[in-house]
């Protein structure tokens, strides 16, 4: 998978590294904006109130 990705982008090594870093940044952004908040709604069971 990593090797496919590496071959998918054209250009010299420095350009590929740059493009792949941008792809990683976009992935991280998507995780923080969409995936993590969604996961939080499924995972958390924190309670802070007292109820009978």
């Amino acid at each position: 998978m990593f090797s496919l990705l590496w071959r998918f982008f054209p250009g010299p090594v420095w350009l590929r590294i740059l493009v792949l870093l941008l792809v990683v940044a976009a992935l991280v952004w998507a995780l923080i904006t969409y995936a993590y908040p969604y996961a939080a709604t499924l995972l958390s069971s924190e309670e802070s109130t007292v109820t009978s």
Binding site: Y36, L43, S44, S48, T49, V50
Partner: protein, 285 residues
Amino acid sequence: MENQPADAVVEAAASASVPAGAGGARHAVGGSHARTRRRARLSPLTVIGELLLVSGLAVLGYFGWQYVNTQVVVPQQQQGLAAQQSARWAAEADPETPWNGKIPIAAAPAEGQVFGVLYIPAMGKNYAYRVAEGTDRPTVLDLSDKGIGHYDKTQMPGATGNFAIAAHRSGPWVTPFREIMRLRVGDPIYLETEDGWYTYRFRSQEYVLPTETDVLDAFPRVSGEPGKDRILTLTTCHPKEDGTAERAITYAVFDDFRPRSEGAPAALAEANSNVAGSSAKQAGA
């Protein structure tokens, strides 16, 4: 390392027919350069392994995100919202009407409505969170722009009795009471409302079971009519990072009230760099 056996196979294939290594030999012969030969077929195991690596990093990132979100992003957002809220109240205030000297009782707000800002300098220099009505999780406690909820069956600030509020201590959204154990006896807790600033002083803490609702009594743990005391009760979960088996209950008692016309308490303005304007007013007074 892979090249050497492959080359050997190529040589062998050239000289004689080798049925066992035929597949490898054909592949090696088809690609004349070493570079093309190295492109082995992508094994599904490799793909699975790489996907596992990536998802492992993503899960690790979730924990990092949780921390950054509740410790950096949301506190800053809340401090900004608190400053806006305070400025709005200041703009709405009627400077012509003097304070009548009585401690005002905040009007009961609608469910989910923000009616106060809580400042606890002991839990962070610029600590400020907005307080809303109700302790419903999806509409108050889990929302990063609210976070602290008032038990709607308890009294409002200023009234004799118990003003009880709840907030998360850990979790991914908003954790206003995370550092509640930093409070020391006598530490001030400020609640700003439309009318002004109520100052409470931290008195004590205890751990209870989630079902012990008598901590919300007009005088905590004592049933009956409210006395003369004005109590502030903060409830949150315990242990801090590990489950919700218990509740940490924090009590504070009312100390002082400053009307909006007199500006924020000097100690609060000194501790919190976002609380502005009051020092100038006090210098004038």
